[in-house]
Symmetry: C2
């Protein structure tokens, strides 16, 4: 749906570490051009402004992450293993690169200012993917949603919300992973069909 030629992609890849290093505000188009090994004039041939470039970068990162999620959900394995791996992949792609940076906050704020829609769209798509995966697992009797009186979409929303909360309080390190696994274990136990339980 979104097309990005290889030149633009190369520029965005070069721009990311620059934004991480300096933050959005202190990063100049000259900084990015230098990092990408091209002239400032050429840079403006691809992106009309720093805002546009940043949006493209955000879109690229979000697209890659949601792509990873779809791919991960499509693998074999139990539904919760796949969801767990997918959610971790999502965080790895979108959050981890900024996690260690002093400028993470400022960059996140810039993203909310300039690319809120992209972030919102991506979240919608994430929920969609989770919902579809849950619905299919429900149909296959791998899980039993009636046991918790819920619908796939509602459960998908809960999972995403819980991930947000865990990320928020536990950070993005290994603690996040542990929290995710625990949450998934709870979810698995709660939705295992009764005839399969011990």
């Amino acid at each position: 749906m979104y097309e990005i030629d290889s030149k633009s992609a190369q520029i965005l890849d070069a721009a990311l570490p620059v934004f991480i290093r300096f933050g959005f505000r202190k990063t100049t188009m000259a900084d990015i051009a230098r990092a990408a090994g091209i002239s400032r004039a050429s840079l403006y041939l691809c992106f009309n402004s720093k805002e546009e470039l940043f949006r493209a970068g955000s879109l690229r990162a979000h697209s890659q992450s949601i792509n990873d999620v779809a791919k991960t959900l499509g693998r074999s394995g139990s539904i919760f293993d796949r969801i767990s791996a997918a959610v971790l992949a999502f965080q790895d792609g979108l959050i981890a690169p900024f996690g260690g940076s002093d400028n993470a906050e400022e960059l996140f704020a810039a993203n909310m200012e300039l690319a809120r829609d992209i972030t919102a769209d991506t979240r919608t798509r994430l929920l969609d993917l989770l919902t579809k995966a849950l619905a299919e697992a429900d149909k296959n009797r791998e899980i039993d949603l009636t046991a918790v009186g819920s619908q796939p979409a509602a459960l998908a929303a809960l999972i995403a919300a819980a991930m947000d909360g865990i990320k928020h309080t536990h950070g993005v390190g290994p603690e996040f992973e542990r929290g995710t696994h625990l949450f998934m274990a709870l979810l698995k136990r709660a939705t295992t069909p009764s005839q399969l339980r011990a």
Copy 2:
């Protein structure tokens, strides 16, 4: 000799991490004021310009380091153990804080531009301290400089030069420490008075 009131010191301590994070060029007086928890107006009461502030910071760092060197050389122990510890202390104080930063190069360049004299003075004082320590050890017969046909000042200069070289090629990590120890072992073996040798 150089007086710095506690307020200025507090400001400089707050400024250091800011310079490390953004580099000299991208750091603004507003950034520093914010980090120090004071107003920009107050900041200008202490330092008349960013250059002056940077010089004061450089002076502070160099003074602290040379102070550590003097203290370390004054301890008990063999002359080479003391010199080794002193040189490591010098590097730790002056280089290590910047070592990990992406902006180390730019900051070093800024220092050479704005505070070359301070750096040169400090080096002179370092050589002086080393020279005095070596001369005393020579007088005490702990070492025998005639064995290598040298004078304290010349040997001190060699040590400092070697440290520079080791830092330059080995970096500032644990490799620097290893290189330093090896060099000191060589030096010790070479200058041990013959009547004490195996």
